[in-house]
Point group: C2
Chain length 352, copies 2
C-alpha cells in the first residue's frame, strides 16, 4: 500500500516520541512492502514561534493531502496562565480538528497486566477493563459562540441534529463490532443540548436492535467509571464531557503513557497519543514512546492492515515483558531505558 | 438557640432518611436545650404530583422564613427518559437553588477508616484524603439561556464578575481556615468563561497572600483526584464541572452514603446528603441515614454549635465501630440494620 503521512511532532516531548513512532512505522512498512511517504509540518507553540499561527495553512495543506496524520502533542505552560495571550498552542489543535472535520475522537481504554499496579484503582476493579470512549470533537462549547470582557463571559454549548447523528452512528457501529453495549452520557435532566442528544439516540435505537443502549448522566458516569469500569463497552458523549471522561478513563487504566487515540471525520484521520506534551521532560530522553508507537498501530489498522498493527502490539508487549521500559513504568531496580532505546528495541524486534 | 427548620423530605428514600435525621436533630436539641421548630414542605416529584410544581410557592415561603433547610433528595426515573416531560423533579432542586440564591455548594470529602475498603481506589492513595469541593451552584449552563427544537439545541455557559468573585471568595476563605491551599479548576485553554474565572482569581490572589493557589484544567483535575486525592485541600469550580468533580470526589472516599453537604448563599442555607433519591430502595428501610444525620451536624456547626455537631459525629463513628450499619456497608456476616434501627441507635447514644 502507498501511504502519505503528515507528521506533526508539535511541542515538548512531541519530537522525541515522534522519532520513535516514525522509526517503528518505517520498519513495519519495510517489512510488509508498503511505501510510506512522510511530510513534516509545524503546529502548536513551535508553529506560533515561527509563523504566529499554531496551525498554519501550510500545515493544513499537508494534512489535507495526506492519507493520515501522525500527531504527537502540543502545549506549553507559558501560555496557560496568561489570560491575555491571544494565540495559544491549543488553538492549533482545535483548528486542526475543525478544519479536518475530525468530529470523532476514539480512545480505546485498555489495561496492561504488567502495569496494573500503576492504576489508582484496586486491581480487581480494573483488571480486564476494556472499553472505548467516543468523544464528539468539533461541536459544543469548544466551538460555540464565545464572549469575554472584564465583567462577563460566556460560551455556547450548541449542537445540531446532523452533528449529533453522525457521532452517535459511530457509537452504535463501534458497539456492534464489540460487545453491543452502548452508553450514551449526557446531562438530560438539566441541559437542552443533552435532551436533544437523548432524543436522537432514542430515535436511532430501533436501527440497531442488536445493541443494548443505556443512558447515563455525566456525574454518574464519572463515578461509575471508577466504581465499575468493566461496566462499559462503548461510551459516547459530547465534547466537554468527553474531555473530562476520556482523561479519567485513561487514568484508571494505569497505562496513560501507553494509550493511543484516533480522530476521524470528514477528511484525513489523525492518530495521536492521549497524553500531553510534558514540557518539563523535553529533551531528556525519558518520555515513554509507546503511546505514539501504538498510534502507528491504530493507523495501520484503520487502513485495514491488521497484521501490521498486530505486529506492533506484539512488539510493545514484548518490550514490556522484557522490562525494556522508560523510568515511569520501570519495575523496582530495573534498568531504565530512554525514549530512544525503547524505540530501537521495538524496531529491532520488528525487523527480526 | 431557637431554630426554625424547613424540612423537605422529597422523593424515593428521602422521607425515610429524613425521619432519622429529624430524630437525631431533636435528640441533640433536647440535650442542649435548643428549641427547634420544624415545618415540612413538598418538593420534587411528590410536589409535582400534588401541585404540578416541583418547588411550589408554599415550599419557597417556608424555606425563606426558616433559619435552615434540611433537604433529603429528589428525583424519579420515570422523568429521566422522557425528553418531552415539561416538568421534572430536578427543576425543583434548581428552583430552590436559584430562589434561595444558594450559589455555593460545599462538600467536604472525607474518608472513614472502617470504610476504606469500599473505596474503588487503593487504600494508600485515599486513606487520609480530606478536602473540600466548592461548586458554584446558580450560574453557568444550568441557568444560562437555553433553546431546543427538533434540529438544534443550545445551553449558555454565562458568568458575571460578581458571581465569580463571591464564589472564589468562599474558596479563598475556606482555604484559609484549612491548609491554605486552593485549587481553581477551569478550562481556560478553551473557554472564555474559564478565562474570566482565572483572571478574577489572579486578581484576588494578592488579597490572600497566605493562600497558595494553583490552577488546574478540569480534565487534569478529574485525573488528579483519583491519582492523588491527597493533593487537594480546597477546590473551587463552576457549576457543570463541579457537578462532575464533586460526585467523583464523593465516590473515591468509599463513603458516598455518608457524605453531607451544605449549600449557602443569599438566603436560608440548605443541608443535604450528597447521594440521590435511590427510588429502587424506597420503603424498604435499607437506605443509609448517616449522610442525612451528618447534614444535621453540618447545620448545627453552621450556627456555631460546635459541640452539638461533634456529638453527632461521635455518635456516627460509634455506630460504625459497633457495626450498627445498613446493608451496603455492613461487614461480612455482620447483622444488617435498617434505616430506622441505625437512626434509633444513634439517638440512644446521644441521649445517654
Ligand atoms: C488541549 C485541549 C484543548 C484539549 C481538549 O480539551 O480537547 C486536550 O485536553 C484534549 O483532550 O485533547
Ligand atoms: C439532579 C441534578 C439537577 C443535580 C445537579 O446536577 O446539580 C444533581 O446531580 C446534583 O449534583 O445535585
Amino acid at each position: 500500500m502507498d501511504l502519505r503521512v503528515a507528521v506533526l511532532p508539535g511541542d515538548g516531548i512531541g519530537p522525541e516520541i515522534m522519532s520513535q513512532g516514525l522509526a517503528v512505522m518505517n520498519a513495519v512498512a519495510d517489512k510488509y512492502g508498503h511505501k510510506v511517504e512522510c511530510r513534516e509540518a509545524l503546529c502548536g507553540s513551535s508553529a506560533i514561534e515561527k509563523t504566529g499561527n499554531p496551525f498554519p495553512d501550510d500545515t493544513y495543506n499537508i494534512c489535507k493531502e495526506a492519507d493520515a496524520v501522525l500527531f504527537a502533542a502540543v502545549g506549553d505552560p507559558k501560555f496557560d496562565n496568561d489570560p491575555t495571550a491571544k494565540v495559544r498552542p491549543e488553538q492549533g489543535l482545535l483548528a486542526m480538528r475543525k478544519k479536518l472535520g475530525l468530529f470523532a475522537n476514539i480512545r480505546p481504554i485498555q489495561t496492561f497486566k504488567c502495569l496494573l499496579h500503576k492504576s489508582p484503582l484496586r486491581p480487581e476493579l480494573v483488571d480486564g477493563a476494556d472499553f472505548v470512549c467516543i468523544r464528539e470533537l468539533t461541536g459544543g462549547m469548544y466551538f460555540g459562540e464565545k464572549y469575554q470582557d472584564n465583567d462577563k463571559a460566556y460560551d455556547t454549548n450548541y449542537y445540531t441534529r446532523p452533528e449529533i447523528e453522525r457521532i452517535l452512528k459511530i457509537g452504535f457501529e463501534y458497539a456492534r463490532r464489540r460487545n453491543r453495549h452502548l452508553t450514551v452520557v449526557d446531562k438530560a435532566n438539566v441541559l437542552a443540548s443533552s435532551r436533544l442528544w437523548r432524543q436522537i439516540a432514542k430515535e436511532m435505537e430501533p436501527l440497531y436492535p442488536d445493541v443494548t443502549v443505556d443512558y447515563m448522566f455525566v456525574d454518574n458516569a464519572s463515578m461509575r467509571m471508577i466504581a465499575e469500569p468493566k461496566f462499559f463497552d462503548v461510551m459516547v458523549t459530547e465534547n466537554t464531557f468527553g474531555d473530562i471522561l476520556t482523561d479519567e478513563g485513561s487514568c484508571i487504566s494505569g497505562s496513560m503513557g501507553l494509550l493511543p487515540s484516533a480522530s476521524t471525520g470528514e477528511s484525513t484521520p489523525v492518530f495521536e497519543p492521549v497524553h500531553g506534551s510534558w514540557p518539563q521532560a523535553k529533551g531528556q530522553n525519558i518520555a515513554n514512546p509507546l503511546a505514539q508507537i501504538l498510534s502507528v498501530a491504530m493507523m495501520f489498522e484503520y487502513f485495514g492492515l491488521k497484521e501490521e498493527g498486530t505486529l506492533i502490539r506484539k512488539a510493545v508487549d514484548a518490550s514490556l515483558d522484557a522490562n525494556v521500559r522508560t523510568p515511569e513504568i520501570q519495575v523496582e531496580n530495573g534498568m531504565e531505558y530512554g525514549t530512544r532505546e525503547v524505540g530501537e528495541w521495538i524496531v529491532d524486534y520488528i525487523r527480526k
